[in-house]
């Protein structure tokens, strides 16, 4: 049997191997590196289904830092799938990178471009398992470091460079907040392990002020990761400037990891009512800001950036309503529909551009791509029979159970806004006529990927059970009742 940490080690080794091969095999077609990475990750993904059962929560030593509970395994798979999809997108995006980097060989720089996501993936998987503030901090930094490089990868492109600098400075700042917050919590409770912090908090007799101050600082840092208002300022510029696959990765992988940590960290602190109230305010602001600011956008990449803020708002509603399964399902549906829309964006942007006008009349130029985008947008808007609808359904069901009436009212308003700006994309593709009627080539791999994503969106929109089961495995009654 395989133990959980072996997965991260395998991904790390895979990344190093690809870097080494890239350094020594000069004549290799760099796309084989990406394919190797994908196959390796797929292997690891398969391996996650053969894990030996996790150790008990009271464990000490290494297992007091690291857990392999269903939530962790679930998000490890999530990170792996995301990374595979991002690598597929990166192959489509490779020509753009080539234009931007003038190296000695025509494919200079591509090796690192394909290898870095593996290190990010390792960090994301680690983050899913972290149950100790020290571990959370370290894994968060692993993720962020590789993103620094990836965001600024098109280094001859001023927009990409600007995005990189913005991300670097603001991310470093938020890390500072995180460390400072951890220090305060440690100072009050004397613990860094979340489980034991929870025990100390429940035993009572602590001074509340410092604890609240500490958790508020930590929320600042995590708010930065998940792009919650008021820590969202970096999002539009960085998303627009970064290479598109990296944008998709940031908006799915980084955000999902942020939410896992948020779910874990907030667990012990929800006995303080102030924390919940603070989160309600953040959720309301995030919902309103993300959706209202998305309305006038004319650049699709920027629109998706604001939409990612908006979805962070819905996810926060799930967090506030203590519904881990709703959050997890929403994240999965968000993964599917966001990667699908970015995948289409990469292909179309290679031909024309990423402004809304570049999508005019896409239905004539490529009926397949426009239908894929239609499915993605319908799901993002939350139309039934798509995964996006069930995601919203579970989230709002959780909010109703917790009687969060403010969130519900705001939710109704923002969903209506969402319909407007997602349908704007559909309008551009179907109503308007094209200025450029050249058809758009699409590689076989991308076509298969998009079909798979569309099918997944529709199937999960009707049959959500696999995801719900993955997070809360049914009790193993069959073996014992024999």
């Amino acid at each position: 049997m395989i133990t959980a940490p072996a997965l991260e080690i395998a991904v790390l080794v895979l990344g190093l191997a690809i870097l080494l091969v890239e350094a020594f095999a000069k004549d290799l077609d760099k796309r084989t590196l990406a394919l190797t990475g994908m196959i390796g990750l797929a292997g690891v993904l398969v391996a996650t289904f053969f894990l030996s059962p996790g150790t008990a929560a009271t464990a000490t030593g290494f297992w007091s830092f690291y857990t392999a509970d269903p939530l962790a395994i679930f998000f490890k798979r999530f990170a792996l799938v995301t990374t595979i999809l991002v690598l597929i997108m990166m192959i489509d995006y490779a020509p753009v990178v080539r234009q931007s980097i003038h190296g000695a060989t025509p494919e200079a720089g591509l090796g690192e471009f394909f290898a870095l996501p593996l290190f990010t993936c390792c960090g994301l998987m680690w983050m899913a398992s972290a149950i100790d503030f020290v571990m959370i901090f370290v894994s968060l930094e692993v993720v962020t470091m590789s993103f620094y490089v990836l965001v600024a990868f098109n280094r001859r492109n001023p927009a990409s460079l600007e995005a990189g600098v913005k991300y670097l400075i603001l991310s470093a700042l938020s890390t500072g907040f995180l460390v400072y917050g951890i220090t305060w919590i440690f100072g009050v409770t004397g613990e860094t392990n979340l489980e034991r912090i929870g025990a100390v908090l429940r035993s009572g007799g602590l001074e509340q002020g410092p604890v609240l101050f500490g958790i508020a600082l930590i929320l600042v840092a995590l708010g930065f990761k998940i792009a919650a208002v008021p820590f969202q300022i970096w999002v539009p510029d960085v998303y627009q400037g970064a290479p598109t696959p990296v944008t998709a990765y940031l908006s799915v992988g980084s955000k999902a990891a942020g939410f896992v940590v948020l779910l874990r960290v907030l667990g012990p602190f929800f006995i303080l009512p102030q924390v919940q109230r603070l989160l309600v305010v953040i959720a309301v602001l995030t919902l309103l800001y993300g959706n209202l600011a998305a309305l006038p956008q004319t650049n699709l990449k920027r629109l998706l950036a604001y939409s990612s803020i908006a979805h962070a708002g819905y996810l926060l509603v799930g967090v506030v309503s203590f519904s881990g399964s709703a959050v997890a399902f929403y994240l999965v549906s968000y993964l599917l529909m966001t990667t699908l829309s970015f995948a289409v964006l990469v292909v179309v942007a290679n031909q024309t551009g990423d402004r809304m006008e570049d999508f005019h009349g896409l239905s004539q130029r490529s009926p397949f791509l426009s239908f894929a985008m239609l499915v993605a947008m319908a799901s993002l808007a939350g139309i039934p029979f798509t995964a996006g609808f069930l995601g919203k359904f579970f989230i709002f069901d959780a909010a109703i159970r917790q009687h969060q009436m403010t969130l519900l009212v705001v939710g109704v308003i923002t969903v209506a806004c969402g319909f407007y700006y997602y349908l704007k994309v559909i309008r551009a593709m179907y109503w308007e006529s094209a200025t450029n009627t050249a058809s758009i080539p699409l590689s076989g791999l991308s076509r298969v990927t998009m079909i798979a994503l569309m099918l997944a969106i529709v199937v999960l929109g009707v049959y959500p059970q696999p995801i719900l089961d993955a997070l809360y495995p049914r009790p193993v009654a069959t073996a014992t009742t024999r």
Partner: protein, 493 residues
């Protein structure tokens, strides 16, 4: 099996058309087969049986007690029959499509499939989900193939309907949550049993009913949420307007009849006064607005909003007579408005305008069209002999009778008297529109305008025969409705 075929035939046909099957032929065949299958279901329908027939179910999620269940009782059978009839007529009336012909037919069939699925679903979740299936096709139909200010109309209808359905969704989730844990289910039959046993607290009933009333109300164009409807129908291509005004709008009324009234009787009683005031807004205010219209399509759009008022009156009365009337009026209105929009579409195709002042005398060159429009207009006014008349009579008697349950002159009776004036109002605008379009002097340039093509007379005959049949024999439907409606009202007294 037969029901599965009815629901999935248009859906599969739409997908086939998207992949590349010949558009018009596939669509016609699919809607004809759907109608045939529905007719088969009508003949097989056992009028004595309680509960639902043709039930087939597929469990989706045990944890949420969510299953995909299809089944029909009298009410849903009537609605399915309406959908099948109007779909066939709408597909038949579709003329030559210049842009994206495949997508046009696929959109029409998606709307039909959504309506059929919603009416046939016995599960709250799928009932809602199927209705939403029509949202994006409507947006595309109006936006791509519409006329006039089509972009604004498409946005307006989409945003209105999206908001309405979302409010509705909240109401439905609240309903699901309001039932005690043991009985919690998305299955309408289970929910109805729990509701009949009084397991939904009164306070919750009032809240949920209000949410459902607003949510469904927006979908039905209840005053003051009605402004999207005339604009959308005026801009939509004729087949889309036929389907939307004839069928899709009935989904909200169906929801009220199926969910809000039987499951939340306390809520209905509590908010009756509000519904009465709003429906008078539909009948009187919108009726007067309709008289003032200067374009045929806008006039028809407003008239369809106004007629919703009568159906609301039947629903608000919440007694057997009124509910029967409401159900039959839904059917009758669906057919008559589809007929009117179809002829209006033909007129626009020939003359290029629907401004009443520019039209005139078309009865001379298109006598069949004029005759069909006249029949539709008479039905819509509620002339005896048409289904609308028998249904409206039931609604008025039901509502008046409801008021008589109270010892003083009640708001229900006042509303009934005022609503009767609505009949006069609809006579005024319908006859004026008929005169302006088909009578009087005709401009020279339309002398060579052809009459309706021969094949188009068949769908017209289909709609008119159905209207007349129910006008003379409303008992056919009353008997179908009796088992479930009767059971509910005997328990609820």
């Amino acid at each position: 099996m037969i029901l599965l075929f009815i629901v999935f035939c248009p859906l599969l046909a739409a997908l086939a058309i998207l992949v590349g099957a010949p558009a018009r032929r596939t669509a016609l065949a699919a809607s004809a087969f759907t109608l045939l299958a529905t007719a088969g279901a009508v003949f097989q329908f056992d009028q004595a049986a309680q509960g639902f027939m043709f039930v087939s179910s597929l469990p989706i999620s045990a944890e949420w007690r969510l299953s995909f269940i299809l089944g029909l009782d009298g009410l849903s059978l009537i609605m399915v029959l309406l959908t099948a009839l109007v779909t066939l007529a709408a597909v038949w009336f579709t003329g030559e499509i210049k842009r994206h012909e495949h997508a046009f037919y696929a959109c029409l069939l998606f709307i039909a499939a959504g309506a059929l699925g919603a009416f046939a679903s016995l599960d709250l979740f799928f009932l809602y989900a199927f209705h939403e299936l029509a949202l994006i096709p409507t947006f595309l139909l109006i936006g791509i193939w519409g006329s006039g200010d089509r972009h604004a109309a498409a946005w307006k209808v989409t945003i209105y309907l999206a908001t309405g359905s979302f409010i509705l969704l909240l109401g439905l989730i609240l309903l699901y949550r309001s039932v005690p844990e043991a009985a919690r289910s998305f299955d309408l039959r289970v929910l109805q049993t729990a509701a009949s046993a009084g397991q939904i607290p009164v306070e919750a009933q009032r809240q949920i009913y209000l949410l459902l009333l607003i949510g469904f109300g927006i979908l039905i164009s209840l005053f003051p949420f009605h402004t999207w409807a005339p604009q959308a129908y005026a801009a939509a291509p004729a087949p889309a307007a036929m389907l939307h005004a004839g069928v899709l709008k009935k989904f909200g009324l169906y929801g009220l009849l199926r969910i809000a009234i039987p499951m939340l009787p306390e809520g209905a009683r509590h908010w009756a006064w509000l519904l009465i005031i709003l429906l008078l807004g539909n009948i009187i205010y919108v009726g007067l607005v309709t008289i003032a219209q200067k374009r045929l399509d806008w006039m028809l759009g407003y008239s369809s909003v106004m007629h919703m008022g009568y159906i609301f009156l039947g629903i608000a009365s919440a007694n057997l007579l009124g509910m029967n009337g409401a159900a039959i009026l839904m059917f009758a209105h669906g057919l008559s408005i589809a007929l009117l929009f179809a002829i209006a579409g033909q007129v626009r195709e020939r003359t290029g305008t629907l401004v009443l002042a520019d039209l005139g005398g078309l009865g001379r060159v298109m006598p069949v069209g004029a005759f069909a429009f006249g029949l539709g207009a008479f039905a819509s006014i509620g002339l005896p002999g048409f289904a609308n008349f028998s249904a409206e009579v039931m609604v008025f008697f039901g509502a008046f009778h409801k008021g008589a349950d109270f010892d003083r002159f009640h708001i229900f009776q006042i509303a009934t008297l005022l609503a009767l004036w609505g009949v006069v109002i609809s006579a005024v605008y319908m006859l004026r529109a008929y005169r302006a379009t088909f009578m009087g002097s005709m401009p020279e340039r339309w002398l060579s305008v052809p009459d309706l093509r021969q094949p188009l007379r068949l769908p017209i005959a289909l709609l008119v025969v159905a209207l007349l049949w129910l006008g003379f024999f409303p008992q056919t439907f009353v008997r179908m409705l009796a088992p479930n409606f009767g059971a509910y009202f005997s328990q609820n007294r």
